[in-house]
Amino acid sequence: MPTLELLRVSASTPPAPGVRSLPVVTKLIDTSTCIGCKACEVACQEWNDLPPETTVQLGTYQTLPDMSANFWNLIKFREHDENGALQWLMRKDQCMHCAEPGCLVACPAPGAIVQYTNGIVDFQQDQCIGCGYCITGCPFDVPKIHTRTKRVYKCTLCVDRVAVGLQPACVKACPTSCLQFGTKEAMLDIAGTRVTQLKANGFPNAAIYDPPGVGGTSVVTVLVHGDRPELYGLPRDPSVPLAVRLWKGPLKWIGNLAMLGGVLGVFVHFVRFGRKDLEGTEATDLTNGATKPTKKTETT
């Protein structure tokens, strides 16, 4: 994505260089039409040319226990038993591309995490210092540290494809139109229609998951059990952690003022009182006959 579309840059106080306004894009995930085929996982690996991860047998149809630095798109598979009826709940787990990204707020490295005017949150690994603060800042536990490079990786929402007018690779590969891509408005429209359909078809709790606690996300999910996002492994009301907001907000300013105050304080003290004067007592000491032999203290 070009520089002119940078909306926010991590750990940078000057205004971000973005001057172009783009419509916010969104990926829609409809859990009710996901068949768990994992075409999206394969497409993601292929397009981003990521090294293969060895799959782990978990006793379900899930590929790996969790996303990794080399695996940014994971279908989370859960078996849910309700009133004797077994349900397979499948949800595509990936970066949610929050409008208020906790990772970007927590990041101390200038330019390592950026947000584009179209809503995509992207990591610039060359600027990443590998501190892992983004992992603490993320309410969805998305960023993963690479064991060799010690830098952090996650879904880019195929920023390179979107920049040239293509849809993300996973959407392209999805056979059931469970994944769709477009402007946020258009996706919320489709999601709304889908929720209405689901409600009319015996799923009264169907809902759109677009959590307002992080300003909404550029990955919107239609949940059949919209009243219980935890069933899908999603937090009920995610937000940038309070500790991270305190740390990067009030605490930073109070701390900076206190450090400045401390330095100014000792400066004022020096101007007002200056050095301690040994001369006054010297006369009396010297009259005691001390000839100032050097004395060594105990050394350790």
């Binding site: 500790a243 305190l246 009182f273 050095r275 010297l286 032999p293 004395k295 060594k296 203290t297």
Partner: protein, 209 residues
């Protein structure tokens, strides 16, 4: 020992400030880049922890608050206004030095424990996420507390107390100086044989300044 803790603290302070606010990130660049600073910061943190632990072992008995310290504390205003004639004599460490010592020990322990959490953040299970949040806050608050202490500590040693810097660098003070600043300790302080004083000097100083 003091030199080890001082050098490691300064490195931790500089790189820590770089991670603390973008306004100081340039320090990390000067010190070899953010990536290198991030790698070295925890290791130097271990060095600092060891130095503080060593201090704790060797100075603990001298750092207990005594009745003389309570007298000294009541006269602290005089000490700060440089009216030293009105300040009761102090032992090997005065009450202010003792307070600074315990500040560094307690904050050092807090920084060490929270630092370990930040170092191995991916080893903390998601269910214990609150531990990470706490660590982030504790690490920042404890570091700020030590910065407050260190500003006064360095200012006192370098600017206010004459020959303080000499004492740190060379490990010795004049008898008169000792009597003035540490009146209760001066009579028992070990003496350097005047003839070979230079030979016996070394850089590790035990004055606590």
């Amino acid at each position: 020992m003091h030199a080890l803790s001082a050098i490691s603290y300064v490195y931790l302070l500089l790189t820590g400030l770089a991670f603390w606010t973008p306004a100081f990130y340039w320090i990390a660049i000067v010190l070899g880049g953010g990536y290198l600073s991030r790698i070295l910061h925890p290791w130097i943190g271990l060095v600092f922890t060891i130095a503080i632990g060593w201090m704790l072992v060797s100075w603990r008995s001298d750092m207990r608050t005594t009745a003389d310290d309570r007298k000294w504390r009541r006269a602290m205003g005089h000490y700060m206004r440089n009216e030293d004639a009105l300040v009761p004599p102090a032992g090997r460490f005065n009450f202010g030095q003792k307070q600074f010592f315990w500040l560094m020990v307690i904050c050092g322990a807090a920084l060490f424990v929270s630092g370990l959490v930040l170092w191995f953040t991916t080893s903390i299970p998601r269910e214990l996420q609150a531990v990470r949040y706490l660590a982030v806050l504790i690490h920042a608050i404890a570091a700020l507390a030590t910065i407050g202490g260190i500003i006064i500590h360095i200012y006192m040693g370098v600017a206010v107390v004459p020959d303080g810097l000499h004492a740190i660098l060379h490990g010795d003070v004049s008898e008169q100086w000792a009597r003035h600043h540490h009146g209760l300790w001066a009579p028992q302080a070990p003496r350097i044989r005047t003839s070979s004083s230079h030979a016996e000097r070394d850089g590790s100083v035990d004055l606590g300044r």
